[in-house]
Symmetry: C2
Subunit: 306 residues, 2 copies
């Protein structure tokens, strides 16, 4: 392996520690801790884990963290009412509606739209998205903000570099491109309709993979020395897929043998031989997403009670 | 000249004609025409001309068009109050605050922010910008929307092509990039910090120049056959500059001799020898901006009274 490993888990721990004094100061000043309210509809198992991790991380740094549960059968109106309740709650500075929602809700965005922009710690409302485009976001989406924090704290230059973002989702791809652009990168956004994708991605000094396809970015997609950020979190249960990706003595493979499943990013393991720096999966961008959610919650609290 | 000339003036006339039946139907149905209110602060001469052209164009297709004038010395509060008045007016579906504003206002965006998003025919509010990012804009900014109309009506493919946008303003560069992305182009955004700009722009199947610098895009910036969209409107009064740009017998030069000034785009005239298609300045993107302002006004009216 030649690539420098960008350790997101360690940075996430640092960022969480940096929030403690802000949480303590806010609590001392206002007589209450910053508050995060999470709405969880149904019992989707991965969502249960994500929500538990978010609540625990918030509690750990001294925030209030509340879970509002709704049944699998909840109507859109019920979910919207739960959002309204948190909008009106003085104790809650941040609101998160855990995606995905059951199909009868008719799409998550209609629910996100109801969130008070001042409490929009995921950055998914139109107002948050618009302020981000206009380079004056207070609460930017957590995953791309985590990537920026990782690049900056790792001493990787952004200004004047060519950043290539693969993926154009509202949650990662587009806000990622905007955050890089505002830090003076030249930015290219690629997607499923891009012609000769490897020729485009090979231009990147920074390549961000956010496609949601296991090991999609192969060594030939990457110029030697490039910084590669892997946003993908793909669960793999097929042994032949694991065997194709990892050599026989790899600890990742041993891990798979033990659990019968593993998480693989959007970047092929062999990219480590070409890239200059690389985020691992797990332990790269993933932990930063939660750290940035906490930072947004504290920031929202500070803005609500300045 | 080899490039096909993309005639924005003719398309603008067509688009305006297409609005007439919509204006007539709206007026018949609601008993009032779609209404545009423009706020003009001070007496900046180019703004006087722009505003007059916009009001006349709106009247010509049967819209109501009102001008609210404020003195050069108006405070931000006075301008904001004028916006609020139009926000509350049932007769006005579109509100435009003519940029630039006098310095004591402290920036145009603080005024734009007050505009009711449902009447935001310039597409400059955070909500409009956010809905645009999320690919569900009702009212997108006029100049980039005009460029899309010109490409589509000229039969120039966008999906799967590489579009390079030079400039990253909130008003043109960024919304242009998003509109092209949502039509499935691979999009690169360049700017003053871009390294080796010609190498980047030469990749574009479509190049949009929105830098505000006279004749900035030279032939070596452009791959043969590329579609070049010139958003620049630069007033040139220096004879030596004109002589350097246009050959001795050029009608543009004769025009300059007559008026003592001329308008030149961001694209060098010699690019016409390389490009496959090119918008002229004047008569390219400029007239489309007003046509799209009218379309946004009619659309806003239809959405307000469905």
């Amino acid at each position: 392996m030649s690539a420098r490993i960008l350790d997101g888990a360690t940075l996430a721990a640092t960022l969480r520690e940096e929030l403690r004094p802000r949480v303590a100061a806010f609590t001392a000043r206002t007589g209450r801790p910053p508050g995060l309210g999470i709405i969880l509809v149904g019992t989707h198992p991965p969502s249960e884990i994500y929500v538990r991790n978010k609540l625990k991380a918030a509690s750990d740094i001294g925030c209030r963290a509340d879970l509002l549960r709704l049944p699998d059968t909840a109507s859109r109106e019920q979910v919207v009412n739960a959002v309204r309740k948190l909008n009106e709650s003085p104790a809650h500075d941040g609101i998160l509606v855990q995606d995905p929602l059951p199909s009868q809700i008719g799409g998550s965005q209609a629910v996100f739209d109801v969130i008070d922009a001042a409490k929009d710690v995921d950055g998914f409302t139109p107002v948050s998205a618009g302020l981000l485009v206009q380079n004056r976001a207070v609460l930017a989406p957590c995953t791309p903000s985590g990537v920026i924090a990782l690049l900056e704290r790792s001493g990787i230059d952004i200004a004047g570099r060519h950043a290539v973002v693969i993926g154009r989702s509202d949650i990662v791809g587009k806000p990622m491109a905007l955050l890089l652009l505002h830090r003076h990168a030249t930015v290219t956004i690629c997607h499923s309709k891009t012609a000769d994708l490897p020729a485009i991605t090979r231009q990147g000094d920074i390549v961000v993979a956010a496609v949601g396809r296991t090991a999609f970015v192969r060594p030939e997609y990457v110029k030697p020395g490039t910084t590669v950020i892997d946003v993908g979190i793909n669960r793999v249960t097929d042994r032949s897929e694991v065997e194709a990706l990892f050599p026989e003595r790899s600890p990742r493979r041993a891990d798979f043998e033990k659990r019968g499943a593993m998480v693989v990013g959007d970047v092929h393991p062999d990219v480590a031989e070409v890239a200059g720096a690389l985020t691992p999966v797990p332990g790269g961008v993933g932990p930063l997403t939660i750290a940035l959610l906490l930072r947004n919650t504290v920031t929202a609290a500070e803005h609500r009670e300045p």
